[in-house]
């Protein structure tokens, strides 16, 4: 069974001076219980892909086109408002990259989590409050009652992020989209949250899509990695292969710039050149202006995304 099935997703944002092509033909399948990591260039379309899968982008300005977009058996392209609301609570939940956007500044954290719980589960207000406090405790918040009574601006970045994780988990989703869920957390709490997510996956059979720039978090948590660049998927492979033998030139460059491998104050390895401009993307392979092994064909024509083995696939002329 496939829980999430995306085929050939395109998301664009028409602007007065052109069209921003944020996602350009992404396909992704996720089975129940699976853990996927999405990594890649900043601006490559990771967040937009997740938001589009949940139909959380406002349309307009965004324009979403896909051959297929199914979540928990629901056709997300044709679903109406009530159906979308039901999917977002019971089937899928999202932890946003920017915690401030998840909370309304004028209501307490407690009010917002309790309302979310009650919208999807038949619980009394006091039962929902107890549940909210218990969830905050599980994300390592030491004083859940005080936090329930706080307003978003009174919390540190990391506390807000944890409150958002608690809210996302409050409806026991079948799939969790976690967009940079631990960036504002210290590594000890990060490790505990990752542990909690894994526990919930085991308990509820929850699938996970983890979007992150932290390759260490990828190494710790996911089974399979999807590498994005310029609105496209460049490579997908089991996590161990991505670390041991990345095949796509972009993946190789990405792994080489991972900090922390040698001690001491030092400059880090960058990928030369600038990120592609999504309003005016390069022709051919999006990585060709920065790729060390590019040739004329790379600039002329985009390589297809094709299977290299049973578990690996990539979009690169050199790997065809």
């Amino acid at each position: 069974m496939t829980l999430l099935n995306i085929e050939n997703l395109t998301v664009s944002f028409p602007q007065h001076d052109g069209v921003v092509q944020a996602v350009r033909g992404v396909s992704l399948r996720v089975s129940p219980g699976e853990s996927i990591g999405i990594v890649g260039e900043s601006g490559s379309g990771k967040s937009v892909t997740c938001m589009a899968a949940l139909r959380l982008l406002r349309e307009p300005p965004s324009r979403i086109v896909a051959d297929r977009l199914e979540l928990g058996g629901v056709d997300m392209l044709r679903a109406g408002r009530t159906q979308l609301a039901a999917v977002r609570g019971r089937i899928a939940a999202m932890v946003f990259q920017d915690p401030m956007t998840a909370f309304d500044p004028v209501f307490t954290i407690g009010h917002q989590i309790v309302e979310t719980i009650r919208a999807h589960r038949d619980l009394s207000k006091s039962a929902a409050t107890t549940e909210a406090a218990a969830l905050l405790a599980r994300v390592e918040i030491k004083t859940p009652d005080a936090i329930l009574n706080s307003y978003p601006h009174q919390l540190s970045g990391g506390m807000l992020q944890r409150a958002m994780i608690a809210m996302a988990l409050s409806c026991r989703p079948q799939i969790l989209f976690a967009d940079e869920p631990t960036t504002a957390l210290d590594v000890t709490i990060q490790a505990q949250i990752l542990h909690l997510i894994k526990q919930l996956q085991a308990e509820l059979g929850m699938a996970l899509i983890m979007v992150t720039h932290d390759l260490g978090v990828v190494a710790e948590t996911v089974d399979r990695v999807v590498v994005m660049y310029g609105g496209r998927v460049m490579e997908t492979a089991p996590v161990q292969d991505i670390f041991d033998a990345p095949l796509h030139p972009y993946t190789q460059a990405l792994m080489a710039s991972m900090p922390g491998r040698t001690p001491g104050k030092q400059r880090l390895i960058e990928i030369a050149g600038a990120s592609p401009n999504p309003a005016n993307p390069p022709t051919g392979c999006p990585f060709h202006p920065r790729c060390a092994v590019a040739d004329a064909q790379c600039a002329a024509e985009a390589p297809a995304f094709r299977a290299l083995s049973e578990s690996r696939a990539a979009a690169c002329w050199r790997l065809a």
Binding site: V187, A191, E270
Partner: protein, 307 residues
Amino acid sequence: MTPALELKNVSKTYQLRQSGGFFARTTDHLAVNNVSLTLPRNQILGLVGESGSGKTTTGMMAMRLVEPSAGQILVDGTDITALGHAALKPFRRKMQVVFQDSYSALDPMMTLAQIVAEPLHIHGLGTASEQTEQALEMLVKTGLDRSYGNRYPHELSGGQRQRVAIARALILRPQVLVADEPTSALDVSVKAQIINLLLDLQAEMGLSILFISHDLSVVRSLTDKVAVMFQGRIVEEAPTETIFTDARHPYTRSLLDAIPVLNPRERRARTFLSRVQIEAATPRLSGQDGTPELHDIAPGHRLEAIR
């Protein structure tokens, strides 16, 4: 040489209003407790630690964006703790901050070129076209091409917004930069680019940086010295490599132990210490009882311990 920035016994108490009852009660929350830090000129000091331990509050107090409840803030040897708005203005120009939450820090109605040029405008530096030109150059330095100048913050990805915030902070060529999680939203390559940019600026313009981060790998490659915060206090401070190879405080050790693995093959079960366990394991320099305090245990190495 006078340090670029000095915090002397700085504390911050927030009043929290408890909602719920008929009468609103307030409780005091000691977010930063007696913190002293020195940022020598042309150095990068890392501030790491528990989420909610007071790092952002400390950085904000250093910039006089949050008023300290006690203690002193010295910039270039001048006590700025009590300076009023007008007297503070020349210091504002020397001190810049990149906020942890870059989204709310960028005005949604302004284009990126306007946002980055604004500090030049406020301080009346150059003509309008010079200001725009400088802003576009600074965007390019942070890895965004000039065409981004006409775009608006909501059109950007998280990492792109963060680069705009960095460009804006650097445009005045400050002497002191407080950078609060400036690279957490960036992909590793752009992160490397920003880290290299900060290292270059440190060398070129003698920039001193208070670098607040949870990313210990970045802290290791960027900073000269690291201070570790726990529960509003500094519990350990030492030259960067000493922290990574010879940490003494149980909280510092638990942090280092929690750094994610570099390869999936190294995945392991982890044990987590509670705050109570950490407090109970406070180092003792002798057999005696007492309250923990910061002690110098080696040159440049401060440790909270019971003497």
